[in-house]
Amino acid sequence: MPEFKIQHLTKYTYPAPVRDSANQIILYPIQDEWQEVIKQEIRISGDPVIDTFIDYYGNKVGGFTYSEPHSTLLIDSKILVQTKHKPLPGNDIFPAQQWEDLKHLRFMVPYIDFLRLEQFEGFDDLKALVEAEKSKEDTPYQAVLRFSRYVYDNFRYIKGVTSVETTMDEIWKLKAGVCQDFAHILTLMLRLVDIPARYVSGYICTHRSTIMRGEGATHAWAEAYIPDYGWLGIDPTNNCIANETHIRLAVGRNFSDCSPVKGVYKGTSDHRLDVSVNVGYEDDAPSMNQPVEFINTPPEHTEHKPLSNIPKNSYQRYLEMLQQQQQQQQ
């Protein structure tokens, strides 16, 4: 049973003090048969009280505020987690029966949200592509593997070309992105063939010898629902099954349901975000207590980045306010 020590640091640095920040963290690994949290410590600068609750999708979510003026916000999460290998689905059921079973899930509560399609410009192209890729003899499990391979082969992994606000249209045109974009595309492709698919955020913990995409930051992949099996983790960024080396933090419809750290504050919109994720193994030297270097490469998730649609000058901000205030009353 693999055991991992993970330290996930998130640090915001502001050029001038900011205040009244309200934040949400989804940094608590899911606990189930395949994943057990032995220990977790979350330390946040300013020592705020963290209030946690379980959200609609079953994720543990924390909330805290930081009212006093501050120039940095550091969120330090240390986890000791144990995983088990989940056996893979068998191929012993007739494919036709499995596809038939999937059709019945469309109007069932646990799956309806994970079958919902989103419209975008390339929707028809994607639909045609999915139809072409899919083979008649495939079981749903084989279709999942095939689509993952497709995304892996046809999208380039480039950091920094997309952000959390990049739309499906842009990703589709770029044919490139990072893990969250790969996961986004794959969930859509699966939903198009009636396979419930959800977005997963977490960490990838590979063996020392292999280098995988998504290390050093939070990672994202997808889960597909296979009849008579359950949720199967699939990582299109690395084209592999997400199993005992993928630590799950949250599941949801899309990135915004699982955003690991996000916040709103009053003050300058300029800021710098540093994220690092370090993984150690049980038999390693006790890395938990060692200081961790911050990576300086562009982080994969920049949730706190100022929104591109926030107007820059005060006149434009005034117009924006005016427009928002004119919401229709019933």
């Binding site: 009244d20 920040s21 309200a22 934040n23 949400q24 705020p48 009280v49 209030d51 609750f53 959200d55 609609y56 999708y57 909330g63 805290f64 505020t65 009212s67 109007f107 069932m108 509560v109 309806i112 949200d113 919902r116 419209q119 996000k262 916040g263 709103v264 504050y265 929104l307 649609n309 926030i310 901000r317 924006e320 306010m321 005016l322 928002q324 205030q325 004119q326 919401q327 229709q328 009353q329 019933q330």
Partner: protein, 481 residues
Amino acid sequence: MQESGYFSQYSPINGVWDEMYGVDSIREHYSKVIDYLSRESSEDLARKEELAQRLFMSQGITFTVYSSGEGIEKIFPFDIIPRIITADEWAFVEKGIKQRLNALNLFLKDVYNNQFIVKDGIVPIDIIYSCPHFLREMYQLQVPYDIYVHIAGIDLIRDHDGTFYVLEDNLRTPSGVSYMLENREITKRLFPDLLPQCCVRSVTEYPNILYKNLLSLSPRQISNPTIVLLSPGIYNSAYFEHTTLARLMGVELVEGRDLVVKNQKVYMKTTIGLQQVDVIYRRVDDEYLDPLVFNPASILGVAGIMGAYRTGNVAIVNAIGNGVADDKAVYAYVPEMIKYYLNEEPILKNVPTYQLSNRDEREHVFANINKMVVKKTNGSGGYGMLMGHASSDEEIEDYKKEILKDPRNFIAQPTISLSAAPCYMQGGLHPRRIDLRPYALCGPDGIEIVPGGLTRVALKEGSLVVNSSQGGGSKDTWVLA
């Protein structure tokens, strides 16, 4: 019945229920008013009308029409002739609204908790889950006394035979109640003797009942909890109403920037420091309420307020997520809800509603579009709707394209002929189409409805659109004892 000068000129619209004019004569409940009017000279009435306009102007009773391009604040047009409802009619309407609101409250509790009604197949699951106002953030969140709809504005219309129909349930931020109150104040000045003579029931208790209910929701058991009215700001169409209600209840009028969340509690910034807020009567939409959880670009909300609400440290009125119950596609299922939750027959009727996401119903609507009104399921204020009988072929074709892009967002209803009431215009009485929006208040003691409401008038001859944002006016609404 003696025919007055005004009455003899009055010609009711064919095939339309007239509130004043029955079979060949004036209805009993209008007779005192008509008698009174017939004793007034036309100069007197003209003077009264002018006085009403000046009072509206001097007291700043305005309404903002966004798209008019004529300055943002406009006088809310007022017709001096009251709309009169008999005691029997009111008893029926009151009973019907209470029943409906009970069911809608139970529906909201159910849909955010056990979802029995979905599991039993009464309301289709995809209608709920595709509704943008079904907020998963509200799932299993406990609200005080299980009340979701504290304030409802139920829109009623009357068909050609006088039957009442519910046109819309407004369960999020219903507006217009300040005009109900102001219209009565103006009428008191225009016709001071008529109100007691006709035994008109008072509406002035409204702010007191609302205040009492807000007070009862305070999570802190203290003698003077802090209640605030959260407004989007001065550019909002209903800002006049926000200021009026805050003043009448004696509560603070605030905007998002006046509030801050600290450790799951909401505070108001005051000149003597932070003061904890217990109850928020908000007139800001869900989407803008918390930039941390909903629209991150919102500058009207309070970051973290959802956390304070979830932990029960603050009460929010109306509850968040009510839009799933007044979605126009869900509206079609309200009669079923009444049967399902209350085991009663619906007292008030629904207007037949076609779901455009259903192919058969859509084709039927497209084939009969001249007899239909098509609406957006999440629209309000009469924006973005199509009146089939009054639209050009081109408008219809464009609208059909819109519908096909996302049919779930549209419903259609047969054009219902609204009832008419006499209005004073051009020195005489003329029938104009009206609706009725009573305001129901739901608190721990039950549902209370002040006897009255806002009667909206389509001032243009032949028009069926009464929305204030579409140039409609209003009348004082009298409920007789």
